[in-house]
Symmetry: C2
Subunit: 102 residues, 2 copies
């Protein structure tokens, strides 16, 4: 049960998984993520990215260009959420049928 | 992604899954759940039970005893969260290793 709670704590909120999914097919800059994740404010995105980085689900790299550019990438550990995401997706579809189908 | 969000919305917070797990091995009365789910207040438990009932994950039955007794039970739909719970558990264990193991 402790492990289940750990997972939920890490994924808490409505934004973590959408952000991770947006990084799944390539590294992105802040504004690119902001555009892909519908409805998130920059302030919240910034906070969420910090938490994801702290949990080693993403990395933040500063490139020595001029001006410097910052790029976010998903880690192997972030990609290891695949099973969790598909279990949540399957159950979400089933739940929708259960609730709306009646 | 919508389906993933649906699932997370339904499971939101730290209490829903512990409550469901406590009902997994038998129907229970309010105070029995309250004792099993460490740290939850009666006010929050009451709110969480209502939300779980609304989402058809549990049922609430009033027995015509004197005084009336109320019993909570997990539904088939509630039990269908098994895959989600084990995916979260597996990932939680892995996450713990990743974060603490370094």
């Amino acid at each position: 049960m402790m492990a289940v709670k750990d997972s939920l704590d890490v994924l808490q909120g409505r934004w973590k998984l959408p952000i991770l999914l947006s990084l799944r097919y390539g590294n992105k800059r802040f504004m690119e993520i902001s555009r892909e994740v519908n409805g998130i404010t920059d302030k919240v995105l910034s906070k969420e990215l910090k938490e994801l980085e702290m949990n080693q689900l993403i990395t933040r790299t500063i490139h020595a260009t001029f001006p410097p550019t910052v790029e976010y990438a998903i880690t192997d550990h972030g990609n290891s959420l695949d099973n969790v995401i598909s279990a949540l997706r399957d159950w979400g579809l089933q739940h929708r049928k259960q609730i709306i189908g009646k």
